[in-house]
């Protein structure tokens, strides 16, 4: 399939998705908002973590930063400026975190990002309780679900376009080299730190924007809601299910899993955690490369595994 055809198809799908909410009720639009939100989160997560294989659990840290920026600033600044502020704060935090964690590899990076999300939540909670005196804020913005959906859809299109562009650029090639072997990549003349930092910052900024755009949905916001670590886990599991190294992988994982989790939490709220856990274990066991790679593997004649997949089968 040529690139032009693919672009025309993607544009048609985008147009279809954009008019879809006009035919849906409020519940349907709510579903679309949540789904698109996770498509962007998973795609943005995979943008950095897919090629480099650095598993980040800081998703909710940036998501929460975005949501909180909107909660704090929405009454004093016009909305576009608020979004810009959220971007700036997310980018700054991402650069600080990126610069200080470039030396951490593997497991230490995972633990660091997990700790970071908790630290930010604790600090915001402490600040709200002790300095402003109230835990929780109200957001009054004249947005309906459909407006939020259109913003998220636009962000999703931009994110996928960026991922596509990066994967074809020198930067994407550099990142794949880093993921294969960081030492070799450095010896081949790749500025490993710069490549990782750029992608981490870009991915974090997009995640911050998702939090900022979705914030008006809640109306009432408090740290326990927007810094809920489950958001990080869900993003991770969605990207893994679809395949974090493919362009459409994260989106493909996010849609069915979001619908499944929505259905589960509506029908089996008590067993949600158990089923989520079992799902997690099964994906790591049976689909370490994601669904897309599995399908390609099945279509290939048996016994012929490309060296890339064989080598990667252990990693996330």
């Amino acid at each position: 399939m040529s690139t032009t055809v693919a672009f025309i198809l993607a544009a048609a799908a985008l147009a279809g998705l954009a008019v879809a909410p006009l035919f849906l009720n409020a519940y349907g639009i709510g579903l679309l908002v949540g789904m698109t939100g996770y498509v962007v989160l998973a795609s943005a997560w995979a943008m950095f973590s897919g090629p480099t294989r650095y598993v980040s659990l800081a998703t909710v840290a940036f998501f929460g930063i975005g949501a909180y920026t909107v909660a704090v600033l929405s009454e004093t600044l016009p909305y576009p400026l608020v979004l810009l502020c959220a971007c700036a704060i997310g980018l700054t935090v991402a650069l600080i975190v990126g610069l200080s964690t470039l030396r951490l590899a593997g497991i230490y990076f995972v633990i660091f990002t997990f700790g970071l999300a908790e630290l930010i939540r604790q600090l915001v909670t402490w600040y709200e309780v002790n300095v402003t005196g109230t835990l929780g804020r109200y957001i009054f913005l004249p947005f309906e679900g459909i407006h939020i959906y259109w913003q998220l859809l636009a962000l999703a299109a931009v994110t996928l376009l960026l991922s596509w562009w990066i994967s074809r650029s020198r930067l994407g090639l550099a990142l794949r080299a880093v993921g294969d072997d960081e030492v070799v990549a450095a010896h081949a003349g790749i500025n490993v730190s710069r490549a990782k930092l750029m992608l981490f910052a870009l991915s974090a900024t997009i995640i911050t924007l998702v939090g900022a755009i979705q914030a008006p949905r809640w109306v009432y916001v408090e740290p326990a809601i927007v810094f809920n670590p489950t958001i990080s886990f869900l993003t991770l599991i969605m990207a893994l299910l679809g395949g974090a190294t493919r362009l459409w992988g994260p989106a493909l994982g996010a849609v069915p899993l979001f619908l499944l989790f929505e259905w589960l939490s509506a029908n089996f709220p008590n067993y949600f955690s158990i089923i989520l856990g079992i799902f997690f274990i099964c994906i790591v066991f049976f689909l370490p490369q994601g669904v897309l790679a599995k399908i390609e593997g099945l279509r290939r004649p048996a016994g012929k595994v490309p060296p890339e997949d064989k080598e990667r089968s252990g990693a996330a």
Binding site: I111, T125, G277, F285
Partner: protein, 289 residues
């Protein structure tokens, strides 16, 4: 005030040390980062709660049931879930990431089962809640017992691992996993033993914690985080490091709570933790690399 804070800090630190030892053994020898460690502890808390309130069994006796159960269950988990991951992992880094992801799943499963069985409320029981006068400070006897048990278990384990042949085998696998088979060590068995031992230690910690504090099905992750902090502090795989690091963390927490702000306790520990990760990821007692 100072002595008071010191004793409270040491008691908390003793528990943290016990909690961290299990994790550091699993991580150091089996190469598995077990994020469900804290939830194993909470499961043991609930087990001793049931044994105490339904069967009237004192926590000291409960140790004799819960700790072996922790060992056997962890052994089974290793055979069932971890071993296939170890077998397919091309290198240690891939195994670490895989084990993180799979124990995430395990974390949710254990937490979910506990939530269904016991609900989300704080649970606890009263055991040995008699005041003891220690250097002019009043401490509950159960807390002193907890500190005593933590130190006894910790020091015994350090002694066993450093002085016996069995302990030497485990340490050999921790230091040089590639060379251990050359001298006839069964790596697979050593890794399984270490993982099970870590589970038994988590069970011990659970019983000890349940003696003096209330718990819910969802606080396991806090124990995991604190254990991680102590493991990074003391160095991966170092039991002595875990013991000292645990006591240190307990002291820091209590002093921050007493002299700065109780609301900043967790933030303070995370800050120390993150700084340490950046400045010295091998810990104070760990080997480089």
């Amino acid at each position: 005030m100072l002595i008071d804070t010191l004793i409270t800090g040491l008691v908390a630190g003793g528990t943290y040390a016990l909690v961290a030892m299990g994790l550091t053994i699993q991580f150091g020898i089996s190469r598995i980062m077990n994020l469900a460690h804290g939830d194993t502890i909470i499961a043991a808390c609930f087990a001793s709660f049931i044994l105490f309130s339904v069967f009237g069994l004192s926590p000291i006796l409960a140790l004799m049931i819960v700790v072996p159960a922790g060992y056997v269950l962890s052994d089974a988990i290793y055979r069932l879930i971890m071993r296939p991951l170890v077998a397919r992992a091309p290198n240690a880094g891939a195994l670490e990431v895989d084990s993180i992801l799979v124990t995430f799943g395990l974390l949710f499963v254990i937490q979910g089962v506990l939530l269904v069985a016991f609900g989300g409320n704080y649970t606890g029981y009263t055991f040995l809640n008699t005041p003891v006068d220690l250097f002019g400070t009043i401490v509950a006897a159960n807390r002193l017992l907890a500190l005593f048990l933590a130190l006894v278990f910790g020091i015994t384990l350090i002694f066993v691992l450093s002085r016996t042949r069995w302990g030497m085998t485990l340490r050999a696998v921790s230091i040089a996993p590639e060379n251990a088979p050359l001298v006839g060590i069964d790596i697979n068995r050593a890794a399984r033993t270490a993982f099970a031992l870590g589970g038994a230690l988590a069970a011990t910690a659970g019983v000890v914690v349940s003696m003096y504090q209330t718990f819910t099905a969802t606080i396991g992750v806090i124990f995991t985080m604190k254990a991680l902090i102590v493991v990074i502090l003391g160095g991966k795989g170092s039991l002595t490091g875990a013991l000292i690091g645990g006591l240190l963390l307990g002291l820091v927490e209590t002093f921050v709570a007493a002299y700065i702000d109780p609301g900043l306790t967790l933030a303070a520990t995370y800050t120390i933790f993150l700084l340490l990760l950046i400045l010295r990821p091998t810990g104070f007692f760990g080997q480089a690399g």
